[in-house]
Amino acid sequence: MHSTRADSNFSRLPDPRPELHFSFEGRRLPAHDGDSVAAALLANGCGPFRATAVSASPRAPWCMMGICFDCLVEIDGTANRQACLVPVADGMRIRRQHGARTL
């Protein structure tokens, strides 16, 4: 069984899809081709995805289907991306989103 990071709530079943690497907050992390960014972050136990604009409270995905917007992150310099809808790609640079996006 392919194990994931110790602080993740999730483990991976045997998965024949090819591996790739992305970065989160500057850390290089593995994922499988076909993972959404949200799945890749959860598999690696990356903690909160964003902090709310109102009270800076921590958030992570609730729905995984594009409804809740609690998975908003910054991807390759673009803020406000729904991590559950974007497929992770080799070399992708992902950062936490703090508060409201800037346009």
Binding site: L13, A39, P61, W62, C63, M64, N80, C84
Partner: protein, 466 residues
């Protein structure tokens, strides 16, 4: 809207590639209509058959035969000639059947003779104390991680009620997850009410499936608490434990992952934005678009099929999609009424068959009042962090409905645009104002339905020679 944009004209646009949308687009294209199928995901299947084309054989076996059923729908879609466009976010739709899309960072627009909405369902929000903490997820979200990424929780507490919760429990057991507890919130009065709706023999298959799942969980020794109330999640920066009352006692279980589920409701963002008439359903405790037997909305040339029309389940969705597609083909002048009726006859029978246990399920899994109208300290609008108590307070100050609540409190004005708080806000205000939910109404939904940046909009101008 923007003179620089090239508008593509087509016969039919179908939005949503779940069972209803796949079946509808397939029939439309097979019968020669120029059909575009738009979907936000990277692959067809919707949520129920999410990842169906790429799931490896072991994963498919683990997820069960009901999941595998979606493979044939996707295969037929691929062969149909429908133009399937994954990764398409629909951010505006008009009653003149203009559809605006962002795909790969580019804005495009279509104008269509018929618009068929198959946007499916979303999980009913489960507002309980602590539900915004990381580590608290909708049950469907945990299932999506299994379907699309072969990820299963190491350990989890599942809480709520409804078929998906028991199915997910069985799937997670098969995947090797430790289920710390299953907290079933189904009330005794629901069971009594459901008895009045026991389906005839045609509906037994579904009930037998449910009983089999529950027997599997018992056999596996899953700690199950019934008639659970007072759910509350404890945690500072993430979930640490869940509290509840069962068998007359207060309980606490330590866990860093919790899945909540209290059934599903139609996704109404697009039908609302269009201004389609909606009707409150007391039995399903949700708004549904007003439709005729073919799925026609109150607007000409705009139809709805599948769970977006009212919750009927995955197996009823494909026949519903084909029924709406047959009607759309008639409206396109490709089928006479007689041929349409003949084409639709088998799907009408199949659709009715899959609805036989619905009244029973609706009664048995009716959501608890504690999540429909949560206590004052519970966050209802996750985006703007507005509590149930704040909503009740502005109702006392004269707030007349959901749209005024926006200006009083910014409820529904965050990134999710009211998708998660809308149903709860309508219930709370109706209760506070002493009116029906129908009278109280729902948020007015305005474009953009999905975030679109100034840059993306500016990019739409590029074919303008200036």
């Amino acid at each position: 809207m923007n003179a620089g944009i090239m508008t593509e004209h087509v016969d039919a646009v179908v939005i949503g590639a779940g069972p209803a949308g796949m079946a509808a687009a397939t029939l439309l294209a097979e019968r020669g209509a120029h059909t575009v199928l738009l979907d936000e995901q990277a692959a067809p299947g919707g949520q129920i058959y999410r990842g169906i084309e790429q799931a490896n054989p072991a994963l498919r076996a683990l997820l069960g035969p009901d999941y595998a059923h979606g493979a044939a729908l996707a295969e037929r879609l691929r062969a149909s000639g429908a133009e399937y466009r994954p990764g398409s976010a629909v951010w505006n739709v008009t009653s003149e059947r203009y559809v605006w899309v962002i795909r790969n960072g580019a804005v495009t627009s279509l104008q269509t003779e018929v618009l068929l909405l198959a946007t499916g369902a979303m999980e009913r929000p489960v507002p309980i104390p602590g539900w915004t903490l990381p580590g608290v997820m909708a049950a469907g979200a945990v299932q999506i991680l299994l379907k699309t990424a072969s990820l299963h929780p190491d350990s989890i507490v599942l809480a709520g009620s409804g078929p998906l919760l028991y199915l997910l429990s069985a799937q997670l057991l098969a995947a090797g997850t430790t289920i710390l507890a299953l907290l079933d919130t189904t009330a005794r009065r629901n069971e009594l009410a459901a008895l009045r709706h026991l389906p005839g023999p045609g509906g037994w298959g579904l009930l037998a499936k449910g009983l089999k799942l529950k027997a599997e969980l018992r056999a596996a020794g899953v700690q199950t608490w019934r008639r659970v109330t007072d759910l509350r999640i404890e945690g500072k920066n993430a979930a640490e434990a869940i509290h509840f009352t069962a068998a007359g006692h207060k309980q606490r279980i330590e866990t860093t992952l919790i899945a909540l589920h209290e059934g599903v409701i139609p996704a109404q963002q697009i039908t609302r934005a269009l201004g389609c008439a909606h009707q409150w359903s007391e039995t399903q405790r949700c708004f549904r678009p007003v439709l005729d037997a073919w799925g026609n909305t109150s607007l000409p040339g705009i139809l709805v099929a599948g769970d977006a029309a009212g919750i009927a389940g995955a197996r009823a969705a494909a026949p519903a999609g084909r029924l709406a597609a047959a009607e759309a083909l008639h409206q396109l002048g490709r089928l006479t009424p007689a041929v349409r009726d003949e084409l639709a006859a088998a799907d009408r029978r199949s659709h009715a068959k899959h609805l036989k246990a619905r009244a029973f399920l609706d009664a048995l899994y009716a959501p608890p009042v504690a999540i429909l109208r949560p206590a004052d300290d519970v966050v209802v609008c996750r985006c703007e962090e507005v509590t149930a108590g704040q909503l009740r307070s502005v109702a006392r100050q004269g707030c007349q409905g959901p749209n005024q609540a926006k200006s009083f409190l910014r409820a529904g004005m965050g990134p999710c645009q009211g998708r998660l708080c809308g149903p709860v806000v309508s219930e709370i205000l109706a209760d506070s104002l002493g009116r029906s939910v129908q009278e109280t109404g729902y948020y007015r939904i305005r474009p953009p339905l999905k975030p679109v940046t100034v840059g993306e909009l500016a990019g739409a101008d590029t074919d303008d020679p200036a």
